[in-house]
């Protein structure tokens, strides 16, 4: 494939994704609302991801603390460890690691599920059964991803902070109360809110890309695998791009 056609393919995919997103917004606010399916998806996408997200969050908090400690001791600011770890977790590590894990778990499962539904005509069958499959499958999943990722990310922050607390206590002793007070002291609204808000966009990216890839899956088992794989890859890249944009925007608005 020459570079030009590859570039064209990229642009056309970007265009299709944008139209897909536009279709999502158009369908999103029109009845009928698939509430029970939305709740079911919330359960699958949100609740069932919690153990994985919690585990990675806990390990990140613990490891980050242990890795930072020697440098902090070198500079003689060991007592600032909770503050630094708290800011790192809340501002960046929590949202991004959660979103990446989320992309790996949810992006791929949405991509594969919708892909195989497409391939086995289940999507057509739904349409015939008086259901708008876009609403029933895409809107509910994307909305569930948008709503659940922030919650997952907040809980992951909490678990990470607990991991960090244990990390601080591996060498040295800090009471949980002191740790907590120091973390809260070091945080401000402009640490928490931009990080919280950007997770909505991360969730949207993961959901819409997973659905897009699955919904436009090519025929055959290979097509399904490809959808799942490219959904994860693309959504992970998009998460980083959004993160870059988020930091630029908060910087521009002076919230940094």
């Amino acid at each position: 494939m020459s570079n030009q056609t590859r570039f064209q393919a990229f642009l056309s995919e970007a265009g299709e994704l944008s139209r897909f997103a536009a279709r999502f917004f158009a369908q999103c606010f029109r009845p009928r609302y698939e509430v029970s399916e939305f709740i079911r998806q919330c359960y699958i996408i949100g609740y069932q991801s919690l153990p994985l997200v919690g585990l990675t969050g806990f390990i990140m908090g613990l490891v980050l603390t242990l890795q930072l400690r020697p440098s902090m001791v070198d500079y003689g600011v060991e007592s600032q460890l909770p503050a630094i770890v708290g800011i790192a977790i809340v501002r960046e590590i929590g949202p991004v690691i959660t979103a990446l894990i989320f992309a790996g778990k949810i992006g791929s499962s949405i991509g594969a599920e919708l892909g195989s539904m497409k391939v086995t005509e289940q999507i057509d069958a739904m349409e015939v059964s008086g259901t708008n499959p876009f609403k029933y499958l895409v809107v509910t999943r994307v909305m569930a991803a948008v709503c659940m990722l922030p919650i997952l990310s907040v809980l992951s922050d909490a678990i990470s902070l607990y991991g960090a607390y244990l990390g601080v206590n591996v060498r040295g002793a800090t009471s949980f109360h002191l740790f907590w007070v120091e973390v809260i002291d070091s945080l401000a609204f402009n640490d928490v809110l931009p990080a919280f808000i950007k997770t909505f966009f991360f969730g949207f990216a993961v959901g819409i890309i997973g659905c897009f890839k699955g919904y436009n899956s090519k025929k055959g088992t290979e097509g399904v695998g490809h959808s799942a794989n490219s959904a994860v890859v693309l959504s992970s890249v998009v998460i980083f791009i959004l993160d870059l944009l988020a930091v630029q925007i908060t910087d521009l608005l002076g919230f940094n």
């Binding site: 539904m117 086995t120 005509e121 289940q122 057509d124 069958a125 015939v128 059964s129 008086g130 708008n132």
Partner: protein, 250 residues
Amino acid sequence: MTPSESVMKISHLYKSFGNNHVLIDFNFELYKGENVVVLGKSGSGKSVLIKCIIGLLKPDEGTIDVFDQCINDMDDTELDKIRAKVGFLFQSNALYDSMTVRENLEFPLRRHWIEVSQEEVNNMVMEALEDVGLAHTIDMMPIELSGGMRKRIALARTLILKPDIILYDEPTTGLDSITGSEIISLMIEIKKKYNTSSLIISHDMNCVRRASDRVVVLYDGTCYAAGTYAELQHHTDPKVKQFFEQEFKQ
């Protein structure tokens, strides 16, 4: 069987994908209580035709009338009303993997805004399952069933809304000849029981012979020949003949 009332009329239907002209000036009429088989080679546009009828694909030109209503420019709500009366059996069954047999069968019932109590739903589900002889599978997942059973569950799901027209997309494909025969018998039985009209897409001559009241040969995107099985069997045109010769070879 005397054809009485027209339930579906297709006139001057054109459909193409890019430069691939699949349907060119296709005309067809389906009468109440008759089984019509559309015969054609793979890729001749049979599935496209059937998807146009159910509104999954929009035709480029021409009109499709179902129950004297043109479905070309219908919105989703109106289309859904037509779809409630038209059953569709998919080639790959299209059972929802994530749901049990019961949920699969309940799905179209609930989705079509039919006001029924839970008890009625249960009764309808049981009735449809009994029609296909698989009442014991009600709490199983589709993945646990064999190919023939899945086809029958899919048929039960089509039947549950008591449709007036059933569209069969290659009902015997992917099944062994014995299971295929069972499915064909079931189709004939259902037709008798509910007096439905059926449009069957197939290239399985066994199915064509047993199930058809009338046969339409789809060739080069158009209605090439039409008639009863017996009439076409002795057709002189080589393009028609090849379908029937094939069967004799078997």
